[in-house]
């Protein structure tokens, strides 16, 4: 037990070192463009943490990111590479928007869950083909999900054609979007709930209930993977599919359900923007969350709780990039480079640490006495 506390401490130290390394490497780039890192970094931290609108913006930005990270991490946990979160969330957002503006006359208590469910099911549907192709035909999911992303991108554009989902009321304007989603399907904002616990946030913020929902999902899946029978089977399949099979676990079944769950969570990614910011789906709908989700899963080592922290961290850097651009005149791309460097440093640092811990554990086990007094005299011979 004492040693596991030591390993946790080591892990935290490794994380800190990786961030430090990324910041140092970023300093070189800042110096190269005549910016003083000792000015830029404190500015970024101040801009992010000293302003309530920054803090709220970070949480708003983190909402889709943590869902995308969770979707990717879930698939990774079953040795599946879901590169298709991107396409799955486009489809999920369109499906939710569709249910949101077509189904009228329902109370919010029914309409909103129905709308969210439409997003989840559409995401699952988009994940269904790749996983069936993989399990039945052996087609690699990386290839098929990338293809599905391309199809999803084209499909949502096609659906915005006149006569399909395009809002007829916008005819003659350059706006290519669906009709407005009905108020009964919009996600309520967090303002009143936060006010109840004494926090006042700017009225311009669109921070909404998808944030607590996303965090709750991360906690839930953390619990499922650690403590549920299904989670146990997922881990066994990931660590040794042959041994899992020999133990009577159907690896195909486990991979199938995990991938669908991943697709379902992916279907939620775009809903914070759709149901709490825009109120419709349009041609300029935000893209790229799915790919950021891969970085986040990587940073979090596929741990659902880590996903929350990693998403907040990426959102923090994103927001900081805006501040740096406005107040220091440094291009925000510098911060994007910094993000990449930190992710690389963390991934490499973790790998080294994991090897070190494994070697340490092995050493401990070799000198370990038996748990209880041995009943038989014979243990390992020749020692």
């Amino acid at each position: 037990m004492r040693s596991s506390a030591r390993f946790a401490l080591l892990q935290a130290a490794a994380l800190g070192l990786a961030i430090l390394f990324g910041a140092l490497a970023g300093s070189v780039i800042l110096l190269a463009i005549d910016q003083n890192p000792l000015y830029v970094y404190p500015l970024m931290v101040r801009f992010n943490l000293a302003r309530i609108d920054s803090i709220v913006a970070i949480f708003y930005r983190a909402t889709p990111l943590l869902l995308a990270g969770l979707a990717t991490a879930l698939a990774f946990r079953a040795n599946l590479f879901n590169i298709g979160v991107e396409g799955q969330y486009y489809v999920g957002a369109v499906a939710a928007a569709f249910v949101g503006f077509t189904v009228a006359g329902l109370p919010r208590l029914v309409h909103l869950p129905l709308t969210i469910l439409a997003g989840v099911l559409a995401g699952m549907l988009w994940a269904l083909l790749p996983i069936v192709l993989k399990l039945r035909r052996g087609a690699h999911e990386v290839i098929t999900t990338i293809m599905m992303n391309a199809i999803a991108g084209a499909l949502v554009l096609y659906l915005l054609e006149p006569g399909l989902l395009r809002d007829p009321a916008q005819a003659g304007t350059p706006r290519v979007r669906t009709p407005d989603i009905l108020p009964s399907a919009l996600m309520p904002l967090l303002h009143s709930a936060l006010r109840a616990i004494g926090l006042e946030i700017p009225s311009s913020s669109r921070l909404n209930w998808f944030l607590p929902l996303g965090i709750a999902l991360c906690v839930f899946f953390y619990w499922v993977l650690r403590r549920w029978r299904f989670g146990f089977e997922v881990r066994a399949v990931a660590h040794n599919p042959s041994a899992a099979e020999a133990a009577g676990i159907s690896t195909q079944r486990v991979q199938f359900y995990t991938f669908l769950l991943s697709g379902g969570v992916a279907g939620l990614v775009g809903l914070s923007d759709t149901l709490a910011f825009f109120g419709y789906f349009d041609i300029d709908f935000p893209k790229g969350y799915g790919f950021l989700g891969i970085s986040i899963a990587l940073l979090a080592k596929n741990n659902p709780l880590g996903v929350v922290a990693a998403a907040l961290f990426i959102a923090f850097l994103d927001r900081g990039a805006q501040g740096v651009q406005v107040f220091a005149g440094a291009p925000r791309e510098v911060i994007t480079i910094l993000q990449g460097l930190i992710i690389l440093a963390i991934v490499v640092g973790y790998e080294l640490l994991t090897r070190y811990i494994r070697a340490q554990r092995k050493r401990e086990a070799q000198v370990a006495p038996p748990l209880a007094p041995a009943l038989a005299a014979t243990g390992e011979g020749g020692e």
Binding site: M1, S4, R227, W228, R229, F230, F232, E233, R235, A236, H239, N240, S242, A243, A244, E245, A246, A247, G248, I249, S250, R358, R361, K362, E364, A365, Q366, A368, P369, P370, L371, A372, A374, L375, A376, T378, G379, E380, G381, G382
Partner: protein, 518 residues
């Protein structure tokens, strides 16, 4: 082998008292071996006998813990494949390392490309390779793309590759495993030609016919030790088989006399097809009764693995039936076979037995985790699992610092104990034990043997597959011999001498199997 081989140029390679240990496993235990210059020296032994460890030491991938290597009488230290090549040692791998879109010549020179003024000297390379193929009578066109070559031709490219790098000693690791019979013949012609030209060859195999056809001398390894070196002309298949799989009985087990009861495992007319649709298990019928250990003997690769995997539901059954305690479990799937009361100690604990990165307690419940005892609805009851794991760790004397230690941290013997402890839980009716003591040291072997006796005493029906003839003879109540996928004989342990079993195992002799006969 007499005493210590003398250092003299008569021997190209001498190994003296080479030992290599891994946690819980002694892979090489004082191996001494002398390979004469210009001979084909075969190295035979079962999986886990230590052949591949020894070859990795020769190729510089492992360092021996003890012992000395000498090349042409001079002691050397081999610290990597590059050094091995400098010393004239070339390895022809079982799995080819060729780039299909490159030509033969390009593959051969890869890694040591001849250049003139920074540019690749292709013409020079082709000329050199043509000279080599002419010298050794190899039928090979250096300009042909490797993708267009047959498997036998690809192997020739691998051999030319090591010759091109100046190898004097060629190590061929199971070279015939991938070849069809005609290609084996061609390979042998090539190898004899190489020998005529003064090359020295180490030929690793467990197919005794081939070894006797090509080798000058044969060294047999078993459990990390050299059993002996014999001249191929002066030995027989039966003798080699006995050397390979037998061993002096170091351990004594008292076999409790139990009157076998009703049939608990019935296998009827089981046929299993291999990769190319060829049957690898042919019409096998056997029955194992309560309190009985049924041993299956055979040289490795004669269908034992496939038989076990088909019974457990890990391999499709082409025809036939499997019954556990009267329940038909043919094609039921592994989960249901296990639920019917079948436990399985797999032949490779790292492949089928354990999820190594997972905790010891998690591996102890793997396959039992869905039992009501360990679940509350969909949630695992960790307190119950931990209590179970503690009990198992105590009862089976598993040396582990805690129940949550990752299993990969345990020694090989303790990992095997985790599997045994798991498989014996919840009173299974039938136990399939495939090579349960392979690679284990004496202490752990004795432990497993005692557990098998215990299983018998508890009324389990045990199907024991082992390549170790003494293990089979000491533990079994009945012995079936498998040869080329068929059960060619069924005997009582008193009925057959190791020599006679050796004859059955090599197909020299056969008797019609009498299934389920008392």
């Amino acid at each position: 082998m007499g005493g210590r081989p003398m250092a003299s140029p008569e021997f190209f390679l001498e190994l003296r008292d080479i030992s290599k240990r891994f946690p819980g496993v002694v892979a090489n235990d004082g191996i001494s071996l002398a390979v004469r210059s210009g001979e084909i020296h075969a190295l035979v032994g079962e999986n886990g006998a230590g052949k591949s460890t020894l070859m990795k030491i020769l190729y510089g991938l492992y360092q021996p813990d003890e012992g000395e290597i000498a090349i042409r009488g001079t002691p050397v230290r081999i610290d990597g494949p590059r050094r091995a090549l400098e010393l004239g040692i070339g390895m022809v791998h079982q799995h080819f390392m060729l780039i299909p879109v490159f030509t033969v010549a390009e593959n051969v020179i890869l890694g040591s490309e001849p250049t003139s003024g920074g540019r690749l000297a292709s013409a020079k390379a082709i000329a050199q390779i043509e000279a080599l193929t002419k010298q050794y009578d190899f039928d090979l066109n250096p300009r042909e793309r490797v993708a267009n070559l047959s498997v036998g031709e690809q192997q020739r490219v691998e051999i030319i590759k090591v010759l091109y790098r100046g190898a004097e000693l060629l190590i061929l690791d199971e070279p015939t495993a991938v070849l069809v019979p005609q290609e084996v013949e061609e390979l042998f012609v090539n190898l004899r030609r190489l020998r005529e030209q003064g090359k020295t060859i180490i030929f690793i195999s467990h197919i005794l016919d081939e070894v006797l056809a090509i080798a000058d001398r044969v060294t047999v390894l078993r459990r990390g030790r050299v059993v002996g070196t014999v001249a191929a002309k002066e030995t027989t298949k039966g003798q080699l088989a006995e050397m390979m799989v037998g061993r002096p009985v170091l351990l004594q087990v008292t076999r409790p006399e139990i009157t076998p009861g009703e049939v608990r495992l019935a296998v009827e007319g089981l046929t299993v097809r291999g990769a190319h649709g060829r049957p690898v298990v042919r019409d096998v019928t056997l029955a194992v009764r309560r309190g009985e250990i049924y041993g299956i003997a055979g040289v490795q690769g004669n269908g034992q693995t496939e038989l076990v995997e088909a019974i457990v539901g890990l391999r499709p059954i082409a025809s036939g039936a499997v019954r556990v305690d009267g329940t038909d479990v043919t094609r039921a799937g592994t989960g249901r076979v296990r639920m019917a009361g079948l436990a399985h100690i797999p032949e490779d604990r790292h492949h089928r037995g354990l999820a190594l990165p997972m905790q010891v307690r998690e591996n102890l419940v793997l396959g039992h985790h869905h039992r009501g005892l360990f679940t509350k609805g969909p949630i695992l009851d960790l307190a119950e699992i931990d209590a179970f794991a503690r009990g198992r760790i105590r009862d089976y004397d598993i040396r582990s610092p805690s129940t949550t230690t990752p299993t990969l941290a345990l020694s090989g013997g303790n990992q095997q104990k985790v599997i045994v402890a798991r498989e014996f839980a919840f009173a299974p009716g039938v136990l399939l034990a495939a090579h349960p003591t392979r690679g284990l040291d004496i202490g752990a072997t004795e432990f497993v043997w005692r557990q098998l006796m215990e299983a018998k005493a508890q009324g389990m029906a045990v199907l024991l597959v082992s390549a170790d003839l003494d293990e089979i003879l000491s533990l079994s109540d009945r012995i079936g011999v498998m040869y080329r996928g068929e059960l060619v004989a069924e005997l009582a342990p008193g009925e057959a001498s190791p020599q006679e079993l050796g004859l059955y195992m090599t197909g020299t002799k056969r008797a019609s199997a009498e299934p389920a006969a008392g």
